[in-house]
Symmetry: C3
Subunit: 112 residues, 3 copies
Amino acid sequence: MKKIEAIIRHYKLEEVKDALTAVGVQGMTVTEVSGFGRQKGHKEQYRGAEYTVDFLPKKKIEVVVADDQFKEVVDTILRTARTGQIGDGKIFVYDVAEMIRIRTGETGDTAL
Amino acid sequence: MKKIEAIIRHYKLEEVKDALTAVGVQGMTVTEVSGFGRQKGHKEQYRGAEYTVDFLPKKKIEVVVADDQFKEVVDTILRTARTGQIGDGKIFVYDVAEMIRIRTGETGDTAL
Amino acid sequence: MKKIEAIIRHYKLEEVKDALTAVGVQGMTVTEVSGFGRQKGHKEQYRGAEYTVDFLPKKKIEVVVADDQFKEVVDTILRTARTGQIGDGKIFVYDVAEMIRIRTGETGDTAL
Ligand SMILES: Nc1ncnc2c1ncn2[C@@H]1O[C@H](COP(=O)(O)OP(=O)(O)OP(=O)(O)O)[C@@H](O)[C@H]1O
Ligand SMILES: Nc1ncnc2c1ncn2[C@@H]1O[C@H](COP(=O)(O)OP(=O)(O)OP(=O)(O)O)[C@@H](O)[C@H]1O
Ligand SMILES: Nc1ncnc2c1ncn2[C@@H]1O[C@H](COP(=O)(O)OP(=O)(O)OP(=O)(O)O)[C@@H](O)[C@H]1O
Ligand SMILES: [Mg+2]
Ligand SMILES: [Mg+2]
Ligand SMILES: [Mg+2]
């Protein structure tokens, strides 16, 4: 089981969510964050204005998936979150040691 | 050392926190998130209204614990966060590679 | 690759960020969180008022770094986030299994 954590542009959330549910993702968690990546003098646009290296609002999405869903989910995020412009975001992947559904106590891939 | 990350109903936070401190938890972190789980046509209630599969506000709690506290903390969350209704939430568990208390520089279980 | 997650005092964010970029950190993510550590009867100050063990607003910063940057980044956070007073915060470290830059598809240390 893996956690896929993607920091994406705020306006890409709906498109990414719809694409993820279309490939069978059954749950996700979203957090409002702010951050910066490496611009090295380049500027990133946000709502028409240009910003130098400083915090911009982003969405963090977290999707925990079974290993056999992993590649399709990452590919779907890459495809839908990408604009080609600086600031498209990053995906970080972590191992999940265990997972439990609170209502039923179920664990493992089938409880995701 | 493990990180226990639980996504719970927003109104369960105080009850879960009180139960966790009662079993000896010494620290926790809370984030406002939104998310969805798998409803498959079922509906989840939020403040009296019914929602289909879309983002609902939830609380994410993170508790880093020593391995010998792990089972008790998970059981406490399961017991207090559960209502039996759809949408009770999920627990995800991660290994923690290292931990440091900033004020003192202490590390390891005794610094938690 | 490691994720360094630090929960720090809200007013320390700018100082920590400036110190991190000065040692070459190229990206970070910040989340508004609330939490408590272990006070054991001691009180923590927030905006002039004293609080007992309950949730206080904090900043969570997340910095994913290559292994060879790890020590310098941790030392920089310890040095800049510390006041010596109760409530300075904690650092948690996690292994990162994989990382991808969305715009280019690059992976690995050079994409951080
Ligand atoms: N090393 C990192 N650690 C933690 N968060 C990061 C890191 N790098 C980027 N982020 C997060 O990802 C968001 C988007 O980063 P961004 O897309 O600008 O990365 P980048 O490497 O600069 O790529 P690009 O050149 O396409 O802009 C940042 O605002 C930040 O929240
Ligand atoms: N696979 C997942 N990845 C990331 N977050 C998830 C995942 N599944 C659920 N969540 C988070 O947990 C919250 C609660 O999920 P929920 O309790 O509805 O899970 P469920 O499996 O649908 O269980 P139930 O059938 O009891 O509703 C979601 O709003 C979301 O924030
Ligand atoms: N075990 C833990 N699990 C998750 N988050 C924690 C834990 N301990 C502390 N935190 C987070 O770190 C923040 C700061 O903790 P704090 O600095 O008070 O730790 P402490 O161990 O009590 O150290 P001090 O004695 O210096 O106050 C808390 O508000 C909480 O968000
Ligand atoms: Mg960038
Ligand atoms: Mg559900
Ligand atoms: Mg404390």
